[in-house]
Amino acid sequence: MRVQGGHTPPPLSQAAAANMAKKNKAKLLDNEDDGGQEEEEPDFSDPEDFVDDITDEELLGDLLRQKPKETDGVESVIIVDGVPSVGAERLDKLKNVVRKIFKEYGTLINEFYPTNEEGKTKGYIFLEFKDRAAAEEAVRQRNNYKLDKQHTFLCNLFTDFEKYDNIPEEFVAPVPEPYKDLGNMSYYLLDENCFDQFSIIFDGGTTTAIYLNAVPEAIEIAKRERWTETYVRWSPRGTYLATFHGKGIALWGGEEFRQVQKFSHSGVQFIDFSPCEKYIVSFSPHVDQRSEEPQSIIIWDTRSGQKKRAFNAERPPIWPVFKWSSDDRYFARIWEECVSVYETPSFGLLDKKSIKVAGIKDFSWSPTDNILAYWIAEDKDVPAKVSLLSIPSREEVRTKNLFNVADCKMHWQKCGDYLCVKVARYAKAKREKTEVKYSGIYYNFEIFHMREKGIPVDSLEIKGEHTGLCMGTGKQQVRNHQRGSLWSWLGLRSMNGALEFIDTKDFQVMMSTEHFMATDIEWDPTGRYVASCVSWWGHKVDNAYWLWSFQGKILKRQTVDKFCQLLWRPRPPSLLSTQDIKDIKKNMKKYAANFEVQDKMRYSKASREIIEKRQKQMQTFTEYRKKIIEQFERDKEQRLRLRNGQDTDTLTSNENDYEEETVEFLVKKETVLVED
């Protein structure tokens, strides 16, 4: 609060202050004695001609903001238009109907049905809710609600009227925000050598760097300290790099990795991108107790940075909570025995209702169509069920009952042509209090042929281990990664990093190798390379990443100080049609010749550089050695003196010193049986 001008209110002089103190003291004493005798109170009023030059706004700004406004008390009121006009006899019935419709948004504390001269309701009513949030929700949900054929509710907040009233007469066009040229966000796809990028975090998490997987050595493109506070994530098409910070997420992109966007979500722990990168979902366990709004999960628009919708979540959530359809149009989660499907860009619940599915365990979207597959666990006598639901029609396109099911895992084929459900079946089930224990697990697969009429289902029984899907038997943790027709298995942690490269065309193990104590494996987006990593977060020594070719040949072992994480930058799906791909495969030989020439040139350049460096090093060293040897020669006399004239410079310098002695010692013993 700044006081303008040179005029200040007269400060109380010291004497006056002292006087006052005395008076007060006297007053206290007096009060104690008599309890009531009034003393002259000190005069605090301003002198008569004092003009206050501090505005109220400055002094009490914050209090003024809380000044009761006209709208106070009416912020939880909504006006509903389109209400049937009824007479007194049917008024109660109408009120009940209205109450039933609106009570799900909050407690109604007041309702007013204005009537005209004839006693009939005018057609519009005022409803007051307990709080504003309820009022807002009611407006959102019930606006345009069709009560019956002739009546549609039109709901508005009472305060909206003030807003609309205050719209200025002149239209002022909003000032467009200056266009931030982010450069070519997809520049990484244009790399002429088609090298992929990958991010690594090392130095215990303090440094993040981006590398180009070039041949023969990776080239560093960017490196920053403290770029992220915990770890990083790439967006599914590779356009953005997301970094985590205490206050929220930051997105970086473009050739120079400039900050593209940031999202404020305090304490964010996990994020998820929608498949087309239109939206980003973030989760934070921190909840601001003051606000009643849900805050745990927030969905943002990636490009504009706007907060679109927020949800509550159970803590800790199984991430990702929301699963997206492949075209970003829908996202869904399991919440309280229902599947809640939301649609974008409105972010409202599809059809305003969740899909009730009692006993639902898990669901997944088809990677190409808007079909939801989910499975329900078995319940006493009711068998388990796998069901396919088409969105938005909610039509069940296929269901299949399954018996003796302990667990199900759904895997979609990349093109959405097949859905494979791996069913774990049990031979025996024991019920123990609230848990059920299964024993004698065996597996079989249900394959849904999505493209055929009626979606026929095949059942396959597989025995043995060489299947290509994830097997988690016992204590081992097996991670597999698929890239088209090639799979790699990695036995993590207790299995000491055994790696197997399998060609799924014939399930042949191409190569069995190991990367001791590997914690992660990552395929590059093109399927040419695999990186196996020993992360410092899991294991404090031997931190490194090893690059393998897709056939399992080790290409490079790169040790990095306190290496934590390696992630390949994803690529968007190929723009080539299947015909194009066929053509390229046919002409492979032509292209291959070109590539070989390029590769050879690259290697020879590298070796030329190394050779030059080595020649220089050798030269320096040989010069150094010459000097040393000269010094050595000069010192020879002294050495002879120190060892009493014996020349011990080389082992053969003192031949007289040697005594020749023939020593026999046993080399081998062999027993030969001469005669039996």
Binding site: M618, D635, T648
Partner: protein, 327 residues
């Protein structure tokens, strides 16, 4: 190359040394009896009885007549190599961590540990009369508290100075005439120091996972060899001008051994090119970290002693001599 395995110690090996001519190999371990072996076939000559604690360090005189050892039982002993009798025992206040014969063999430099109120010391004694050693040192310096404790010691090529390696990674040259010179390049404890054959270069092995090559006269660090495990010992090939190689042995600390692959013989000796600082070979075989490694004086083989208590003596085969870097 199939190595000869010497099994003669009950506990882990602390140091091994060839004599000047290379026909004998001396080994010291955490058990109190150092051994001596014929390096050609691994036959044991005998052991030296007398210490009552871990033998940390050993050295042999240039003419292979005397053998010295420093032990955790706070003594340093001088032995007759042939007979195995201990001529002299010198009592110290703390364990003796490093011993070294001078080039002439007339003096011994030794360092002691810093323990229980006693400082780490560097002492030099005169041993011209091995049977009548004057226990009063001709030079005695308190290493701590000015510097950290000295664990290894070596003589300069003409006995003009002594170089010590310390716990904080520094090496100090103690020159009687010009005073002290300090070289600091390593960040952690120096585990071993060895001289080149001509005594003009020095290699230090450190817990900071590197080994460095120094010029001894001006304490200039010339080369660095990087690994990913603490280096316990390093040696320079005597054939430094034709086969400029350096061998290093190391491994995880005993407490961390369970987390590294303890499968058969995974601890390896690593060979680096001295000039290019690049690793070119690894020899597996030990079941535990390698604690001491040294080349045979003729440059045709090497020996390594490990935490597993074994000493392995190797002879190089043709592949070693044929290997050449492109340049």
């Amino acid at each position: 190359m199939k190595p000869i395995m010497l099994q003669g110690h009950e506990r882990s090996i602390t140091q091994i040394k060839f004599n000047r001519e290379g026909d004998l190999l001396f080994s010291a371990s955490k058990d109190p009896k150092p051994n001596v072996w014929y390096s050609i076939n691994g036959e044991r000559l005998g052991s030296y009885d007398g210490h009552s604690g871990t033998v940390w360090c050993i050295d042999v005189k240039w003419d292979s007549s005397l053998f010295i050892s420093g032990s955790a039982d706070q003594t340093m002993r001088i032995w007759d190599v042939e007979t195995g009798t201990s001529n002299t025992t010198l009592e110290m206040k703390t364990s003796v961590r490093g011993v070294s014969f001078s080039y002439s063999g007339t003096m011994i430099a030794y360092t002691t540990d810093k323990m229980m109120g006693h400082n780490s010391e560097l002492n030099i004694i005169d041993v011209r009369e091995p049977n009548n050693v004057d226990s009063t040192p001709i030079m005695k310096t308190q290493v701590t508290p000015t510097y950290t404790k000295a664990l290894s010691v070596l003589w300069g090529p003409l006995d003009e100075y002594v170089v010590t390696g310390h716990e904080d990674g520094s090496i100090i040259k103690w020159d009687m005439r010009t005073g002290k010179e300090v070289g600091q390049e390593h960040s952690k404890q120096i585990k071993d120091m060895q001289l080149s054959h001509d005594g003009m270069m020095l290699i230090t092995a450190s817990k900071d996972t590197t080994a460095r090559l120094w010029d001894i006269s001006n304490l200039e660090a010339m080369k660095m060899y990087k690994t990913d495990r603490p280096v316990n010992s390093a040696a320079i090939s005597p054939l430094v001008d034709t086969y400029p190689h350096v061998v290093m042995g190391g491994g995880q600390e005993a407490m961390d051994v369970t987390t590294t692959s303890s499968r058969i013989g995974k601890f390896d000796a690593r060979f680096f090119h001295l000039v290019f600082e690049e690793e070119f070979a690894r020899v597996k075989g030990h079941f535990g970290p390698i604690n001491s490694i040294c080349f045979h004086p003729n440059g045709r083989g090497y020996a390594s002693g490990g935490e597993d208590g074994y000493v392995r003596v190797h002879v190089f085969d043709d592949a070693y001599y044929q290997f050449k870097f492109d340049f």
